[in-house]
């Protein structure tokens, strides 16, 4: 029966610091330096979970991140985190761990019934059944399948964990602090370059931590101390290099919650290797573990099997585990699948009382549910009672990071493993990760890799080669046995987490899914949280055998970041919640906040939507605010308008080119409404532009398109028309803007700015006048978006709030009040001005009723492609006004328009873009696009809104609902 005992001394645990934790609610104790897995094994919690599909009992198998079975849900309340990897989770006081995928407990799981019907659940069975009698039968089966799937469980609760992010730069990044990584970091550090050494374990040393060689341990401790003392070295324990992205950009998760974006001028991969399981029947029973896991438990965690261990191997490395276990008094038997075994090994084993059976495999694993005994196959078919069965199928270099840049790994026959295929310039590899097994060899290769990197960095003087610790590495010899099944009853697992067996691989081959990518997707091989770290090589080797081709020809699936599962929150960092995107505020934001404004989003801006003086809801408030402007005078914040300073001898010519109408001859002190097209002839943006001087214009854009227009104008000026002397500068944040509108607008302005000639001569409609008020430059533009007598008052943003308050105070006797975005939008609908809802990159000039603005004399951007056949078709949808004919009903944005006698079906003849209650006409009005546009003026049409089963009658009218002759503008 599988059980472990803690050695009284030795290992790297701190017996003076016990740590209390719970497992499935039960109290447990481990020591500082333990992992969750080692502490559970010490407490003899051998069965820790159930497998994904067949719900077979499972225990710890691996020594670290490659672990497929021992996954736990940690944390409590809403914030549990599923799928934590037991052997890689540093034990901490108060840790609450729960097993997964087993109910009520790992030892007794109701869903174990799955394994009874397991022949039905061969790979790909989903595709062959549940097609069901009806078309939508799958919708009946799916809920059952979804409930059975998924490993861990978590809740909808938000997290209160902070995720920090940071950027960093260095000359040399070394990935992994095993023998190769430590040596590389030391050599690089000694030459003075900046070095970052990242190691996923909470201790530095890699495989050395699981060894028992005194000379190597001395070298490790001495090297770590030297690195800790070095100024130019940054050590990152508990840090997983999750991915290498273009531009030598390494993404490193530090301590599980933080993320570092490191740009390294050179990278040395020293990530080590992972031991492979062997494929034989019932190789998944609790108590069947990797030999390296047993060695690590013994040497690092002072935990050994209580009495006897059997080790199955096809290579020499397993003997190191045998020697170390025997040294701690464990009775060890080695079943070696190979015929010839080196004499040195045989004699050393005999010297330590280790029984070695050559040419023998495992005929049967006797387990209830954990290992009780094993029956060998081959020449010595004996049955041996034992606590554990160690297995070693050889070692697979962790080539993942080297392949993230698209370089495929290649198969190295000598070590029967895939090694990095090639390296981008500035990338190097060392140690087991490059197929160099053996600690001393790894140290030498790490040292050499550092010198290569220093050469790449242009360092002339390279440090001398490091002296190696004395002693000999055990040579690595392997005779691959990819399929050690004996044909007996029982499942031989290839992917322990997704329950993929050797038979599944064979069936995939029979059905033609023999390309490695098909094999992976058809059987879900390697798609679990361990990402195939222990399964892919065995599966593709078995497939190569079935196809009769070399393993190199089968190749690997694509290695993709992250190297280990990484929380979405760690990547999102601090850009969540209200920090998801930056917020833009107008210079009047604080004033609005203090004066009863409700805000609304406009792109990244927050804009005053409506004010509580006018009403508690937007519907109620906007009508009151409209009445204020139509009958009296109101003040609105338009600071978010895009504003661009255009200066230069050729400023006029430049604007002539980008606008459809003429600007070169615009007199100084005058403004003009302009529309600009994209090269494809569709409308890009509109706005008014004023001439400030012979060589300076003040251009405005819509709030939404300001960024687009600025980049577009810079693109034309810098790349395509460098011959023009024109310079652009954004003024959007430099100038605040206010819109003063209403019959009493001039009166209000006169009260605020005494002595300024505001007459029609002094400041005509579309006139611009720069004045100074109390030492502050103020620009008056006689423009009107609302259709009333109106002025826009722009001034530098530092003074906008003071000027705004002055205007409100000075004009208070007239009853001036602020009005918001909702009423501003409604006022412009009454006046028939197009805005964001109409400009959606699909309209031509004529669609918006602006066709006559297009200059016939001078060329402009988009002038050719706007003549494309369909864009000049008479039946295009163009701008119309709509008046509701049925009192008591309402018009809705997004309604689809039909002629009176059309069948209400299909795509209709147009749609409503924007709607408002008209204060002037005392009925609902709207702007919309209609087939043939104002050719149908006066016609009655149907506005359909099937989503609310509504149809209302309306009449097509001119979009200029009020003051069509513009008398108010020129008042």
């Amino acid at each position: 029966m599988t059980s472990f005992r803690r050695l009284s001394q030795g290992g790297r645990i701190d017996r003076g610091r016990p740590l209390n934790f719970t497992f499935n609610g039960g109290k447990r104790q481990g020591f500082a330096g333990d992992t969750l897995a080692s502490a559970l094994l010490a407490a003899n919690d051998i069965v820790v979970g159930r497998s994904f599909k067949y719900h077979r009992p499972r225990g710890v198998m691996g020594a670290g991140l490659e672990e497929p079975n021992a996954l736990f849900t940690t944390g409590k309340g809403g914030t549990e985190e599923p799928n934590a990897i037991g052997p890689a989770l540093e034990l901490r006081d108060g840790l609450a761990a729960r097993s997964q995928n087993a109910w009520p407990s790992p030892r007794f799981d109701l869903m174990a019934v799955n394994s009874l019907a397991s022949p039905l659940f061969a790979s790909g069975f989903y595709y062959k059944t549940f097609i069901g009698p009806f078309q939508k039968s799958w919708m009946f089966y799916e809920p059952f399948i979804r409930r059975a799937a998924g490993l861990g469980k978590t809740s909808y609760a938000a997290d209160d964990v902070r995720h920090e992010t940071r950027n960093a730069f260095c000359d040399v990044l070394v990935v992994g602090a095993g023998p190769a990584g430590l040596a590389a970091a030391l050599a690089a550090a000694r030459s003075g370059v900046s070095v970052v050494l990242a190691e996923q374990d909470f201790e530095l040393g890699g495989q050395l931590l699981s060894g028992a060689d005194a000379a190597l341990e001395a070298w490790r401790a001495e090297t770590v101390a030297a690195l800790q003392a070095a100024e130019n070295v940054r050590l990152l324990p508990r840090a997983v290099v999750q991915g290498i992205y273009d531009g030598n950009h390494a993404i490193i998760s530090v301590g599980g919650t933080a993320l570092e974006s490191l740009r390294a001028r050179s990278i040395i991969y020293a990530a080590g290797a992972v031991e492979r399981p062997l494929v034989f029947e019932n190789n998944d029973r609790p108590g069947v573990m990797l030999a390296s896991a047993l060695r690590s438990l013994a040497n690092r965690f002072a935990l050994v099997p209580s009495q006897r261990a059997v080790l199955l191997t096809n290579n020499d490395s397993a003997y190191e585990a045998a020697f170390d276990l025997a040294a701690h008094g464990v009775a060890v038997t080695v079943a070696d699948l190979r015929r010839e075994i080196s004499g040195a090994l045989m004699s050393r084993a005999a010297g330590q009382g280790i029984v070695v059976f050559p040419e023998s495999g495992i005929a049967e694993v006797i387990a209830k549910p954990d290992v009780r005994a094993v029956k060998l196959s081959g020449r010595h078919a004996v049955t041996i009672e034992c606590d554990v069965l160690g297995m070693s199928g050889g070692w697979s270099p962790l080539v993942h990071l080297t392949a993230h840049g698209g370089i495929k790994p290649r198969y190295d026959e000598a070590i029967a493993a895939f090694v990095p295929g090639a390296f981008a310039s500035g990338h190097f590899a060392a140690g087991a990760c490059n197929g160099v097994f053996g600690s001393r060899a790894a140290i030498a290769s790490g040292d050499a890799a550092a010198r290569a990197a220093l050469g790449h960095l242009g360092r002339a003087k390279l440090p001398a080669a490091a002296t190696l610790p004395e002693g000999e590495d055990l040579a690595y010899a392997i005779t691959p046995v990819w399929n050690a099944t004996q044909g007996s009853k029982g499942k031989a697992f290839v992917d322990f987490q997704n329950d993929v067996t050797a038979k599944d691989v064979a069936q995939a081959h029979d059905e033609g899914y023999s390309n490695i990518e098909h094999l992976k997707r058809y059987t879900t091989l390697g798609m679990g949280t361990d990402q195939g770290k222990t399964s892919n090589i065995n599966a593709l080797a078995i497939m190569a055998g079935l196809r009769g081709v070399g393993i190199g020809d089968v190749g690997t699936t694509t290695f993709r970041p992250p190297f280990t599962p990484l929380t979405v929150g760690a990547i999102a960092g601090r850009s969540v919640g209200h920090h998801f995107r930056p917020t833009r505020r107008s210079p009047l934001h604080d004033w609005h906040q203090k004066n009863g404004a409700t805000f609304i989003e406009a792109g990244l801006w927050k804009r005053a939507w409506y004010y509580d003086w006018a009403g508690k809801t937007p519907q109620e408030a906007y009508v009151k605010e409209m009445e204020l402007v139509r009958h009296n005078v109101g003040l609105s914040d338009v600071s978010t308008l895009g504003k661009i300073d255009v200066q230069g001898r050729d400023a006029g010519e430049f604007l002539n080119r980008v606008y459809v109408n003429g600007f070169a001859k615009l007199p100084v002190g005058k403004a003009r409404y302009g529309v600009m097209l994209n090269d494809d002839g569709l409308v890009l943006d509109d706005g008014t532009t004023s001439r400030i001087s012979e060589t300076q214009y003040y251009l405005t854009t819509t709030t939404a398109q300001a960024g687009e227009v600025m980049s577009w104008l810079e693109f034309l000026a810098q790349c395509h028309w460098p011959e023009l002397d024109v310079h652009l500068a954004s003024l959007t944040d430099e100038w605040g803007g206010m819109s003063l509108a209403g019959p009493k607008a001039r009166e209000a302005l006169a009260l605020a700015l005494p002595g300024v000639d505001l007459s029609n001569e002094g400041l005509p409609y579309m006139g611009v006048k720069d004045i100074t008020f109390e030492g502050v430059p103020v620009r008056l533009l006689r423009l009107s978006f609302s259709g009333e007598l109106g002025y826009e008052i722009h001034c530098p943003a530092n003074y906008t709030e003071a000027l705004w308050e002055h205007l409100l105070k000075a004009a208070a006797p007239l009853g001036i009040k602020p009005y918001g975005l909702e009423s501003l939008a409604s006022l412009r609908i009454e006046k028939g001005h197009v805005a964001g809802l109409e400009l959606d990159h699909r309209n031509s000039l004529d669609d918006l009723g602006l066709g006559k603005m297009a200059s016939a004399t001078k060329p402009f951007v988009g002038d050719v492609l706007r003549q494309r056949e369909d864009m000049m078709a008479p039946e295009r949808w163009s701008l119309v006004g709509l008046e509701l004919l049925e009192a008591g009903k309402t018009l809705r944005g997004g309604s689809i328009l039909f002629a009176a006698n059309d069948e209400i079906k299909g795509h209709g003849r147009g749609y409503i873009t924007s709607v408002t209650w008209s204060v002037e006409l005392q009925r609902f009005i709207a702007l919309g696009l209609y087939q043939g546009g104002l050719k149908h003026e006066g016609e009655e049409i149907i506005c359909a809104f099937p989503l609310k089963n509504e149809q209302v009658k309306a009449r097509i009218v001119s979009p200029m609902f009020i003051d069509s002759k513009g008398t108010r503008l020129h008042a």
Binding site: Y245, D246, G247, N248, H249, R263, G406, R657, D679, D680, S711, E714, F715, Q718, C719, H720, W721, P859, V861, V864, L865, Q867
Partner: protein, 81 residues
């Protein structure tokens, strides 16, 4: 991917805006030929290999510049001419 801004030096790609194929010569302002504009606006080589393109350093000097990059590997081949 790090983009070499000619003025501010190497920066992460998200400090830039992409401007598309830079090999196509923009028709002269005032060119009235429909096919010329149709090809310029709607037809692309879109090669799988070296590609000359426009980038703008929007979060820095706001300059547009040309860059040669291999679209099969994302390797930066150098500033355009």
């Amino acid at each position: 991917m790090r983009i070499p801004c000619p003025h501010c030096g190497e920066r992460d790609v998200n400090e830039f805006r992409y401007g598309g194929d830079a090999t196509k010569q923009r028709p002269a302002h005032g060119d009235k030929d429909f096919q010329t504009w149709n090809a310029y606006v709607f037809e692309f080589d879109n090669p799988k290999g070296p590609h000359e393109e426009f980038w703008q350093h929007t979060l820095g000097c706001r300059q547009w510049f040309r860059l040669k990059r291999n679209t099969a590997t994302n390797q930066i081949l150098g500033g355009g001419q």
